[in-house]
C-alpha cells in the first residue's frame, strides 16, 4: 500500500524513458541482492577451499572460484555491498554538506559566495583519482579514505548545482514576497528555496553516486580502498588481474557487476534530467 504512489510515479518515469525505468529496476535488484546476500543460500565469501581452486564458471558456480577456492559470486556480492554502501554513505554526506554550503553561498553576500565558489574551483582542479590518492596518503588506505575521497570529489559539483538553482529560486517573486512579509532566513531557505531546488539536486546526486562507485573502485583497484579481508569490487578486480590470463572470470564477475551498477545509475540520472526538463527538439529532415 505504501508502495502504491511509488509504483505510480515509476510508471510515469518508465513511460517517459523506458531505458531509465529499466535501469532503476535493475539498480533496485542489485542493491537488494547485495544487501541480502548473507541471507541467500550461498557459501560465505570468506570460506576458503569451498570449491576447487580457480574453477571455471558453471551452473552451480556462476562466477567460478578464486585462487583460494572461494565462491566468486559470494565475494562479488559482498564486494558490491561494500562499494554501494561506501559510495551511498559518502554521497549522502556530500549532499547534505553540498546543499548547506550551496544555500549559504547563494543566500549570503558577495564575499562569502566568492570564497565558497573559489574554494570549490580549487578542489575541482584535482582530478578524481588524484584527489583519492592524496587523501589516502594523508589518512591512510581504507574505508575512511574512500569516503573522504568520494566526498571531496562529488562535493564541488553539488555545491555548484545547488548554488545556481538556489540563486534562480531566490530571484523569484514568491521568495521576494515571503521576505517582504518578514520571514526569517531559515524559513526562507527551508520553506521557500529548498523544496524548489530538489530536481537539479536529485539529478546531480544520482550522477554523484555513479562517480562515487567509480572513485571507490579505482582506489581499491590501486590497493588503497578497504583492506583485506574486506574486498570491494575494485579490490576483487585488483586480485583478479593477477590471474587474468588463466582465470579471466575473476575479473569479469566483479567487472560486470560494477559496470551494470554504474551504468544503471548514469541512466537513472539522465532519465531524471529528461523527465523533469523535457526538451522538444525539431527534426531537420522532413
Amino acid at each position: 500500500m505504501i508502495l502504491q504512489p511509488v509504483i505510480h510515479h515509476w510508471r510515469d518515469f518508465n513511460r517517459a524513458d523506458r531505458l531509465a525505468g529499466t535501469a532503476s529496476v535493475t539498480m533496485m535488484v542489485l542493491i537488494l541482492v547485495a544487501l541480502l546476500a548473507p541471507l541467500l543460500p550461498l557459501d560465505p565469501p570468506d570460506q576458503v577451499a569451498a570449491h576447487p581452486r580457480l574453477s571455471e564458471p558453471s551452473a552451480d558456480l556462476v562466477f567460478g572460484s578464486d585462487n583460494l577456492g572461494r565462491n566468486m559470486l559470494s565475494r562479488v556480492l559482498q564486494g558490491a555491498r561494500i562499494t554501494i554502501l561506501l559510495s551511498a554513505i559518502a554521497v549522502l554526506l556530500a549532499s547534505v554538506a553540498g546543499v548547506a554550503i550551496g544555500l549559504i553561498a547563494a543566500y549570503s553576500g558577495k564575499a562569502l559566495d566568492e570564497i565558497i565558489s573559489r574554494f570549490s574551483d580549487i578542489v575541482f582542479s584535482f582530478p578524481a583519482v588524484l584527489m583519492g590518492l592524496l587523501i589516502t596518503a594523508i589518512v591512510g588506505p581504507g574505508e575512511f579514505a574512500a569516503i573522504c575521497a568520494i566526498i571531496l570529489v562529488t562535493l564541488p559539483p553539488i555545491v555548484r548545482v545547488v548554488r545556481a538553482a538556489a540563486m534562480e529560486v531566490t530571484g523569484t517573486d514568491y521568495v521576494t514576497i515571503a521576505w517582504l512579509s518578514g520571514a526569517s532566513p531559515a524559513r526562507l531557505l527551508l520553506v521557500n528555496v529548498l523544496p524548489n531546488i530538489s530536481v537539479p539536486v536529485v539529478t546531480q546526486v544520482a550522477y554523484s553516486i555513479s562517480i562515487g562507485m567509480l572513485v571507490e573502485s579505482a582506489l581499491s583497484f590501486l590497493g588503497l580502498g578497504p583492506q583485506p579481508p574486506a574486498a570491494s569490487l575494485g579490490s576483487l578486480l585488483r586480485e583478479g588481474s593477477v590471474y587474468i590470463t588463466v582465470a579471466p572470470w575473476l575479473v569479469f564477475g566483479p567487472a560486470i557487476f560494477l559496470v551494470i551498477a554504474i551504468w544503471s545509475t548514469n541512466l537513472i540520472g539522465e532519465g531524471l534530467r529528461v523527465f523533469f526538463d523535457p526538451v522538444r527538439a525539431r527534426c531537420l529532415e522532413e
Binding site: L19, R118, F119, D121, I122, V123, S125, F126, P127, A128, V129, L130, L133, L134, T136, A137, I138, G140, S210, L214, S217, A218, F221, L222, G234, L237, G240, S241, I244, T245, P248, V251, A255, L258, V259, I262, W263, N266, L267, E270, V279, R280, A281, R282, C283, L284, E285
Partner: protein, 317 residues
C-alpha cells in the same frame, strides 16, 4: 577587439588567483601527510642527522616562510629533489611529461574524431529511434565502464591471443619506433574509449538542446537546407558544451590517467606520482600534484576563454 583582450586578461588573472589557492592547498596537504622528511630518510637516525636533514630542507622555518620559498623556487623551475634518489625532480619530469602528453594528445584526437561525429549523427537522427537509441545506449555504456575494467579486458584479450601489440611494457620512441607504436596503442585506446563515451553523450544532448531552440525553427522557416542549418547554427551552438567536455576529459587525461599508466606500466606522470606516494617521497608527490593541478587550472582557463570567443554573450567579467 579590446573588449576581447580585456576579457582574456580577466580570465588569466582569475586563473592566477586559483593557482595560488591550489598551491596553498597542496602545500598544506603535503604537510598533513603522516611521517616527516626525517622519518623517511633516517627513521632511526641519530638526532644530529635528523637535525641536518631538517636544516637542509628548511623544515625549522615557519610554514609561511617555507611556502614562499617553495613557491619562489618553483617559479624559477626548481621543483626540488627526490628524497630517495636525490635527483632533481625537474629532470625526471623532462622524460615523463612528454609521455603523458603524447598519450593525452592521441586519446583526445581519437575520441573526438570518433565521438563527436557519432554524437552529432545520433542527435540529428533523434527521431529515428533505432539509430538514436543505439547511439545513446552505446554512449552511456562506454562512459560507464571504468578505465581499469577496459584495461583489464584489453590485457586479457591481447595477452591471451597474441595480436601483435605490446602489452604491459613501454618502448620509448628513440629506441624502437615501431615497437613504440605497438606499445602505445593499447593505453591510448583505453583512454580513448572513456572519451568516446563522453563525447557521444554530450554531443548528442547538446544537439538535441540546440534543435529545440527557436532560431532553428526560424532557419527552417526561411527554407534553409538541413546541411546549412547544421553547419551554420548547430555546430557553433553546441561548441560550448563540447568545450566543457573537452576540458573535463583533458583534466582526466593529464591527472587521472594514473590508473591506465599503472596498469600498462607507462612511465608517465601518473605512475611517477603513485611511486612517489608508495615510497613516501614527498617532494615528488608535491611537485607532481602541483604540475597536474596547474595544468588543470590552465585547461579550465582556456575553456573559459573559449566560451567567450564562441558565445559573445559570455564576454563579460
Amino acid at each position: 577587439m579590446s573588449q576581447i583582450l580585456k576579457f582574456i586578461a580577466f580570465r588569466v588573472g582569475s586563473a592566477l588567483l586559483t593557482l595560488i589557492g591550489v598551491s596553498m592547498f597542496i602545500f598544506v596537504a603535503i604537510h598533513m601527510l603522516p611521517g616527516s622528511f626525517e622519518d623517511v630518510l633516517a627513521p632511526r637516525g641519530p638526532e644530529e642527522l635528523r637535525q641536518q636533514i631538517a636544516d637542509k630542507f628548511g623544515l625549522n622555518q615557519p610554514l609561511p616562510v617555507q611556502y614562499v620559498k617553495w613557491l619562489s623556487a618553483v617559479a624559477t623551475g626548481d621543483l626540488g629533489i627526490s628524497l630517495i634518489t636525490q635527483d632533481p625532480i625537474a629532470d625526471s619530469f623532462a622524460t615523463r611529461v612528454p609521455v603523458t602528453i603524447e598519450l593525452a594528445v592521441l586519446a583526445t584526437i581519437t575520441s573526438a574524431l570518433i565521438g563527436i561525429p557519432l554524437g552529432l549523427w545520433s542527435g540529428l537522427a533523434h527521431r529515428r529511434t533505432a539509430v538514436s537509441g543505439i547511439a545513446r545506449v552505446a554512449g552511456s555504456f562506454i562512459m560507464s565502464v571504468p578505465d581499469f575494467v577496459i584495461a583489464s579486458v584489453f590485457l586479457y584479450v591481447f595477452s591471451r591471443y597474441s595480436l601483435g601489440l605490446t602489452v604491459g611494457q613501454w618502448v620509448p620512441w628513440h629506441e624502437d619506433a615501431i615497437g613504440h607504436i605497438k606499445s602505445v596503442i593499447l593505453p591510448a585506446a583505453t583512454l580513448s574509449a572513456v572519451g568516446i563515451g563522453l563525447f557521444i553523450t554530450t554531443t548528442r544532448n547538446a544537439v538535441i538542446g540546440v534543435l529545440s531552440k527557436d532560431y532553428i525553427m526560424a532557419a527552417q522557416a526561411r527554407g534553409e537546407e538541413p546541411r546549412d542549418i547544421v553547419r551554420g547554427h548547430v555546430l557553433r551552438n553546441i561548441s560550448n558544451p563540447l568545450v566543457t567536455t573537452l576540458s573535463i576529459y583533458l583534466a582526466y587525461l593529464i591527472g587521472g590517467a594514473i590508473i591506465v599508466e599503472y596498469v600498462y606500466s607507462v612511465p608517465g606522470m601518473g605512475r611517477f606520482l603513485v611511486q612517489g606516494l608508495l615510497n613516501r617521497d614527498y617532494p615528488i608527490v608535491q611537485a607532481t600534484v602541483l604540475v597536474i593541478a596547474c595544468a588543470v587550472v590552465l585547461i579550465n582557463m582556456a575553456a573559459d576563454v573559449a566560451y567567450g570567443l564562441i558565445d559573445p554573450r559570455l564576454r563579460k567579467g
